[in-house]
Subunit: 334 residues, 2 copies
DNA sequence: TTGTAGGCGTTATCAT
DNA sequence: ATGATAACGCCTACAA
């Protein structure tokens, strides 16, 4: 049994394909009796328009593309998985389908060249600006998620504000020697979180000590590496980690040296990753609204597809402090 | 600047669209000089065939669909994220594109009805057999990953063998009162792992004690709930968890009661999830080959697309014991 | 209200 | 070796 076509329905109903098309699409007048009959037959056959034929004539695919850099997609973080799932569900709610693709370099994804999508969600700040630029020149509707760049719509987290809040929390708890660790600073989000850390120290009259800043490496062991390096040369009383997996593996490095958390070193993370509740002790962190970003991004993208000529919007979402046990004394907060 | 078409190239080159099509596709003879000129122009314009037109005439989309049940996609486990990434990269290597979709009920995904994909990768064992059955009736090429069912190609993990090995490892270490915990038994993989546990006890002449088996709930807290229930009524010396997140949160429940790991209770997990190396102590677990499953699944699916009438293949992949510190005495192993 | 016909971009089958 | 031309399935004027 092959896929039913308009022609098949037309033959069964004894009308022309044009009438069937009209009946099913709802555009154009059709006799009520024949319309009902057509709908019945279509239902019976499980008819749905062939998308290739449809998009050929309509000049739209009703697909959107989810693009992410391979280094982020491959990483074991759950972060982008949650965004992906939310994007898919929101797209489907609007009758759009989702293409998932990872990119490794700056070559234009075939998704675009072959016209497989009407618009793009570009996720994460590891996608190169030059790729984004060439996409923009193609005038394909798109929105950046968890990233931002002048001239392109974006939905992102207030990383600077979050880094500031996290650091301010530690200062409020009495800490003065506060370190910052990250997998790498070669990443916009992490750099912004670092900037927030810097600003908080400055705003509180504390010195910025380069000895207290350490990079590790990409991946799940990044925090372990960064923290180990740091502890070889300095002894902070608290540390801000650029994300939760980094914080979690840094905690191992701290414990390996026989230090206690939070008594000897307080730790604060970033993201409110599911892992945060499973560290020992549970991790105080900055919550990032992943599915909120996803929902806003899909809404904005569909709007841009309908109405392409709009000034770029940049939507920044604030973070939220989640106090658990890795910084101690939650009671002193007001 | 709009997308270039065959016609545009033909006009520039002063030939017909048919010639251009032949030159680009490589099928049919074309004069070497004109072929080169055409390739040059196409390159210059950044031409790529419009996929809607192409798949309309070729009757194939060069897309495959990645289907997963919403409950699994939403879960914070990184498990399926790794499979997704591997499937995408392997598909792309073969010039196929990937549709990502979650399903919540048994209605036929529109991906299929609208002919948007040539085949499907069905991931996880929460997709209902009745949905799979109706897909099969549509005769759409598909392969199950991390799931199996008679009559449909599948690539899956040897869960029974893994459960057996895990339990046997504990027995080898001298344990006699070994518990089994899981988020739920309403899931094929978890039931199979339980079955492996059961068989190992039986094979070693140990009794199966229902008091030592506990279910928790779906999600990251499942292990905590299950372990708490268990400890209220029994006191095992070791516990097999149906997966690593379950094991990780069970460890919290154990510690909350002042018990030590592995001295009071040894813990073994399943999956070798990235989290396993971050628990305290690091988790001994059964490694599952996620990207291997993905690669095999894509290869098998593309073969089925080319050549649909084949007997179903069922590929089972063994697991591998990863000894870390949560069971103690790694030295006694030979 | 309904049918006829043209066209979307590509491939494939014919002639030439 | 190349060029018309007819599909593929759908949509939409326009005609009846």
């Amino acid at each position: 049994m092959k896929r039913p076509t308009l022609k098949a329905i037309a033959k069964r109903a004894g009308v022309s394909v044009a009438t069937v098309s009209r009946a099913l699409s709802g555009r154009g007048r059709v006799d009520e009796a024949t319309r009902e009959q057509i709908l019945r037959i279509a239902e019976e056959l499980g008819y749905a328009p062939d998308m290739a034929a449809r998009s050929l004539v309509l000049r739209r695919t009703e697909n959107i593309g989810f693009l992410i850099h391979a280094v982020q997609s491959t990483s074991p973080h759950t972060f982008y998985g949650e965004i992906l799932t939310a994007v898919e569900q929101e797209s489907r709610r609007h009758r759009y389908h989702l293409h998932f693709a990872t990119v490794e370099d700056d070559t234009l994804p075939s998704l675009i060249k072959e016209n497989r999508v009407d618009g793009l969600i570009l996720v994460g700040c590891d996608l190169s600006p030059s790729l984004i630029q060439s996409l923009k020149e193609r005038r394909i509707p798109m929105v950046l998620v968890d990233n931002h760049l002048p001239g392109v719509d974006s939905i992102f987290t207030d990383n600077i504000g979050g880094g500031f809040q996290a650091t301010a929390h530690l200062i409020r708890l009495g800490h003065r020697r506060i370190a910052f660790i990250t997998e790498t600073l070669n990443n916009l989000s992490f750099r912004e979180r670092f900037e927030g850390y810097r600003q908080a120290l400055e705003a509180n009259g504390l010195p910025i000590d380069p000895e207290l800043v350490a990079e590790g490496e990409r991946g799940f062991e990044g925090g372990f590496v960064a923290m180990s390096r740091l502890l070889e040369r300095a002894r902070p009383t608290a540390v801000v980690a650029a994300n939760d997996p980094t914080a979690a593996s840094a905690m191992r490095a701290i414990r390996v040296r026989g230090l206690r958390i939070p008594e000897d070193i307080a730790v604060i993370g970033f993201d409110d990753d599911p892992i945060a509740v499973h560290t020992e002790p549970p991790l105080t962190t900055m919550r990032v609204f992943r599915s909120k970003m996803a929902v806003l991004a899909v809404a904005r993208l569909l709007d841009l597809i309908k109405n392409p000529e709009q000034p770029a919007l940049h939507i920044r979402i604030e973070t939220q402090l989640m106090v658990r046990q890795s910084c101690g004394s939650p009671l002193t907060l007001s």
